[in-house]
């Protein structure tokens, strides 16, 4: 299996997208190697992971072709970096919502030719992918959805707009009634921006269908997450993270179906006592900033140290799928209000106060049967980094082993992180 896996190439398609083909052609072999080493070397993986392996194999080809065909057919293709994007409205317009590249070290040097060095690696990586023309997803989008969740992002969008049309929505940073109304107006503006691409109006039925489709995807992820909480876990944390990452770029209906197929297999595995690690394996929950594909660094360190990751309280994890939208609306205005209410439940650290997040972390810690929390913070992500202070206090008050780390995409600190993770596991084992 491991030897057959290969991330595929399609230089003709890349050429059509205006990519730097010569430079990009080095990417698939690199990803192939990393993927074999990190994912395919795992023992006892569920068989239904094959679909997700295939999604990685086709990450620069098959899936891009699908998106390209949709775009040529006049469907809106929107690139995003945040879970605060009303993707229901994109799906309602028959379009595609994709999380953009932003999880690799390789594009950071491109970004640093323009951007300051001391901003978060995700913003730099993403910007570098666009200016270096080395992300097919970036090349295929009609517009990028940007938001104002942090200073680095909101100012970078102004520069990114020179390379690709960037629509910025103002995310309120408090959760008062007036903030909700502000965001409702932003949602309406976004709907209009998507409609301009298709030159049609998305009506009540279309929005209802969009909500249903995205709800179904989120529900499938909820089901998967609750199954992986079983002890012993039927699936590794790395595989779960991968699926959560794929959720941001796969076709939602097919993805939900494949997740349910995997869930069926996991239920059987749980029934017959098949697990990826023994019950005594230390169970770690990861909280904090998101891990854009292919950022697998922390999960790989944790699981290589002999533990298992059992939950991601993160934009790449539960923050993306814990809430669904009420499907009982009777008119379009009500639909948009229900949608806004759902999004206002996201406890991103850009909000103040944000005590709901602390409560959510503790709730997920209980539900996942974790034995310790590692709070992950991308370098220079000030809101999460500072919020870790309150999270630590909450954990200490409950005797929950807690460790916060701040890191980036470079391999420089892997040795040190290994030591810290191993020491944390020693602390848990006593």
């Amino acid at each position: 299996m491991s030897d057959q896996f290969e991330v595929k190439s399609d230089p003709a398609l890349w050429e059509k997208l205006g990519m730097d083909v010569a430079r990009f052609s080095g990417m698939p072999p690199m990803l192939t190697n990393a993927y074999r080493g990190i994912f395919l070397s795992q023992q006892g993986r569920p068989e239904k992971m094959a679909y997700f392996d295939d999604m990685v194999a086709n990450i620069h080809t098959g899936r891009i072709q699908e998106i390209y065909d949709a775009k040529v057919g006049g469907k809106p293709v929107i690139g995003t970096f945040c879970v605060y994007v009303p993707e229901e409205l994109v799906v309602a317009a028959g379009g595609i919502c994709i999380g953009l590249c932003g999880g690799a070290q390789g594009s950071i040097a491109d970004a640093e030719k323009i951007l300051p060095r001391n901003i978060c690696p995700m913003v730099k990586s993403a910007f570098g992918f666009k200016v270096g023309k080395i992300c097919p997803y970036f090349q295929v989008v009609d517009l990028v959805y940007g938001e104002t969740t942090c200073d680095a992002k909101k100012k970078t969008w102004e520069l990114l707009d020179r390379y690709v049309p960037t629509h910025v929505m103002e995310i309120p940073q408090m959760k008062r009634e007036r903030d909700k109304w502000l965001w409702l107006d932003e949602v309406k503006d976004f709907k209009a921006a998507v409609e301009r691409i298709t030159d049609t109006i998305t009506d009540f039925d279309a929005v209802a269908a969009g909500i249903k489709t995205v709800n179904a995807k989120r529900f499938a992820l909820q089901r998967l997450n609750s199954l992986r909480h079983h002890n012993p876990s039927p699936i590794s944390g790395k595989d779960m993270l991968l699926i959560e990452q794929i959720a941001f770029y796969d076709e939602p209906v097919r993805f939900a179906q494949k997740v349910h197929e995997l869930c069926d297999e996991l239920e059987q595995r749980i029934g017959s006592g098949i697990a990826v690690a023994p019950k005594s394996t230390p169970r770690i929950m990861v909280s904090g900033t998101p891990m854009a594909l292919p950022n697998w660094k922390l999960h790989h360190i944790i699981e290589s140290a002999g533990a298992i990751v059992v939950n991601e309280e993160s934009c790449i994890g539960t923050r993306y799928y814990k809430d669904l939208i009420d499907e009982g609306s009777t008119d379009l205005e009500q639909q948009l209000e229900r949608l806004t209410e759902r999004y206002m439940k996201i406890d991103c650290s850009c909000f103040t106060p944000n005590d709901d997040r602390i409560a959510q972390v503790l709730k997920e810690y209980e539900e996942s049967g974790a034995e310790g929390i590692i709070d992950y913070c991308l370098q220079f992500c000030h809101t999460y980094n500072i919020e870790a202070v309150k999270l630590r206090e909450a954990c200490e008050a409950r005797d929950i082993p807690f460790m916060s780390i701040e890191t980036d995409y470079s391999p420089d600190d892997v040795g040190q992180l290994q030591t810290r993770v191993e020491a944390f596991l020693e602390q848990i084992k006593g």
Partner: protein, 247 residues
């Protein structure tokens, strides 16, 4: 017989225990092939149960049948053995500085470690000593004897080096700069200890604890006495040897 081997970034330390008491302790330079050096040291006690710790512990595991523990656990075990009432450990080695908090019964309850940055590590002191033309021993002695007056502002090893150079070029006596460097490191370490929460019954381990000037400055900054083992650099190896007895 139990043996602990601590493969640090600068030196390899071994401690051999027999019937609970120390039979032998050694400190050698890591060299370019630390695992060969370490294997030779292990070869002298073929019957010993061995536990490795430190930077090179994973490398050792590829070459020999042994258990490993992190240097955080090793220093906690070693410090607690030497000072049974100890509640916190500050370990400053070549690459890392860490603070470990212990419960009443010696369990690790929390720890902090510097991130990928040399500030406040042995390496930082070493670089500053070199740029001032001191050997490591003279560096601390000179600092202790110098007048106050010059602060060092930068804790980044690279920037601090240029700061040192510019102070030298302004005619500030090297000893005075040495003192400033020590003060800067002591204040950084004190902040790390205070942030972790406990500074009473603090044991200072690792090679940097041999620097008496730094220890005195740290005591002043924290306002409490700091306990230093007789040979602080072998504390991790001792902890590993102790662990070999219970694994």
């Amino acid at each position: 017989m139990q043996m602990g081997i601590d493969l640090g970034s600068r030196t390899i330390k071994t401690v051999t225990l027999k019937g609970g008491s120390m039979l032998e302790r050694r400190v050698v330079e890591s060299g370019f092939e630390p695992h060969r050096q370490a294997l030779q040291m292990l070869g002298e006690h073929p019957q010993a149960r061995v536990v490795a710790t430190g930077y090179g512990r994973h490398l050792m595991q590829q070459h020999a049948e042994l258990d490993i523990i992190t240097e955080i656990k090793a220093h906690a075990l070693g410090a607690r053995h030497l000072f049974p009432h100890c509640r916190a450990v500050l370990d400053v080695g070549g690459q890392d500085s860490k603070v470990i908090l212990l419960s009443d019964n010696g369990r690790i309850v929390n720890f902090q470690m510097n991130d990928k940055c040399a500030a406040g590590t042995g390496r930082f002191l070493e670089m500053m000593a070199v740029s001032l033309g001191y050997g490591l021993k003279d560096f601390g002695i000179a600092a202790a004897q110098a007048d106050a007056g010059t602060p060092i502002n930068s804790m980044c090893a690279v920037f601090a080096e240029s700061e040192v150079v510019s102070l030298k070029n302004r005619g500030v006596p090297p000893a005075e700069i040495a003192r400033a460097v020590h003060l800067a490191v002591a204040s950084r370490l004190a902040a790390m200890v205070s942030k972790t929460g406990e500074c009473r019954h603090l044991v200072f381990t690792g090679g940097v604890a041999n620097n008496k000037t730094l220890v005195a400055m740290l005591e002043k900054a924290l306002g409490v006495p700091v306990l230093v083992p007789e040979d602080p650099s072998i504390t991790g190896a001792l902890g590993a040897a102790l662990h070999a007895g219970c694994s």
